[in-house]
Amino acid sequence: METGQFVQQLAKRDGASDGSVLRANVGRITVTRAASQAFFRVLKEDFGFDHCSLISAVDNQTGFELVYHFSIIDMEGQMLEVHVELPRDTPTIDSITHLWGGADWHEREAYDLMGIYFIGHPDLKRVLLPDGFAGHPLRKDYVYEIHEEEW
């Protein structure tokens, strides 16, 4: 399927907006948090995106944004970038580990470094920083010149 075609089809779904084509074989779309779970299921089951490349958490100061990169394992290399906005005071979203096993540690990393909570994740704990570390250092308001504890 052409990139423009499937982005158009996906943009018609509830909660999806801003469908666009970034470059050859790469699409971009924005989804609301409420609609994201149903959207991801369709992406995996109907559109064949079988590989979760990356989950990036971005601190936009006003809120958080999750950027998912999905791709298809074939020689065409179709990709889709999905943006989901999260409010600053409740940075939670449903986990996608039951759809893509590879999302497991990406979600743990987003929790560890940015403090995003993934509901339904089998084992949401820190992955790169030690247990008991205070705060989430990739947030823009994290003050890292002051270390109260030695690590």
């Binding site: 020689m75 290399g77 590879g102 990393e109 790169l128």
Partner: protein, 364 residues
């Protein structure tokens, strides 16, 4: 029998870097496992937010000391996409040459570290000896032995000197001759085969679901190579098809992962030859490279160990607002409990060695 947890690492001959593998055993059989990372975490992404775009190439070199060139290249490719910089054709070809030479050096490093895990100390000496030839080759244009800082945003630091292709050809002929020797030595070694055949198996569909990429995925018979699927630099103009191996029925085992990397070295040498022949004349650096950038961009490349992806957000200043790195090994290691289960404790070095871990990029 009572089950118990054993720590393999952080200081263990099997780990090749600083990480910890906790395994739960029932007698000699592994029933569960849990990798623990973070011993080498330097928070490259956060440091990068405080540095200018062009400064970050020193950081990306240090992501993986065995494959520094490919990581810097991935960063530069993303930054070029973000800034809209067009790389001159000659620079694209030079990049292709050094990337493939780096891939061979990285695979030889893997060979040198994997074989002593299985008791073949000779393999360590042979692998390191051959890797040194490729490090010497990469030293010619870059001046560095491990950390090159050679690929720059907009091109490469300097041109290849005259006579480089003759030197490269001589080195590659030597390696070809020796690789055949190694194949005779290892493929026919009964001990090596006993320790790798049907050990650490996973199916292609599982590997895709777990996010395993690169040689570890192709060794299950999946012809997926980002050098073609999401092509960059001179790769679209070169003639090649992805190399795959398989342990039968779309499965990957330790031996097929070993074969995969040996076959990829032959392919890389072929690509270097093609690129050196087709290389056009001209500049090696774009005329002007912006200092500031706004917007967002991502690119993915076929790293020596799998799919490397970098995502950059610029807010109009000279430093990235957010820089996110996808490390192929980070995801592959997360799947380790799945393909360790059911095997014996003695198989752990064979299995974990065969996926070619690099803890520098995994911990970031």
């Amino acid at each position: 029998m009572a089950e118990m947890w054993i720590h393999m690492g952080p200081q263990h001959p099997m780990t090749h870097g600083l990480w910890n593998l906790r395994i739960k055993v029932d007698g000699e059989t592994i029933t569960d496992a849990e990798p623990e990372l973070g011993y080498l975490h330097r928070s490259v992404e956060k440091i990068g937010e405080r540095r200018k775009y062009f400064m970050n190439t020193t950081l990306t070199d240090r992501l993986c000391y065995a494959s520094a060139m490919t990581w810097t290249h991935c960063y530069c490719l993303t930054a070029e996409e973000l800034m809209g910089v067009e790389v001159p054709p000659r620079a694209k070809y030079i990049r292709t040459v050094v990337l493939e030479l780096q891939r061979i050096a990285s695979h030889l490093m893997w060979l040198a570290s994997y074989l002593p895990d299985l008791g073949l100390i000779t393999g360590f000496l042979y692998g390191m000896r051959d890797r040194e030839m490729f490090l010497n080759l990469l030293e010619i244009p870059s001046g560095g032995r491990l950390l090159y800082n050679y690929v720059k945003i907009g091109g490469v630091k300097r041109d290849l000197p005259p006579g480089f292709d003759a030197k490269a050809e001589r080195v590659m002929q030597t390696l070809e001759r020796r690789l055949k020797e190694y194949e005779d030595l290892y493929d026919n070694s009964k001990i090596f085969r006993m320790r790798t055949d049907d050990v650490g198996c996973y199916s292609a569909s599982d590997a895709i679901n777990w996010g395993i990429t690169g040689p570890n995925l192709r060794s299950a018979g999946v012809p997926f190579d980002l050098r073609q699927a999401d092509s960059y630099d001179a790769y679209p103009e070169l003639d090649f098809t992805p190399v795959t191996t398989s342990a039968g029925n779309g499965r990957s085992d330790c031996f097929s992962r070993y074969r995969q990397r040996i076959d990829e070295m032959y392919q890389s040498m072929d690509l270097v030859r093609q690129a050196l022949v087709k290389m056009p004349e001209g500049k090696v650096m774009a005329g002007s490279v912006p200092v500031r950038a706004r917007g967002e961009a991502f690119r993915r490349t076929e790293d020596s160990r799998g799919e490397a992806l970098m995502y950059l957000i610029g807010d109009g200043t000279d430093r990235p607002y957010r820089w996110k790195i996808r490390s192929p090994m980070f995801t592959t290691v997360s799947a380790a409990p799945h393909f360790l289960k059911g095997y014996k404790v003695a198989d752990v070095p064979a299995i974990m060695g065969s996926i070619d871990m690099c803890i520098g990029e995994t911990d970031k």
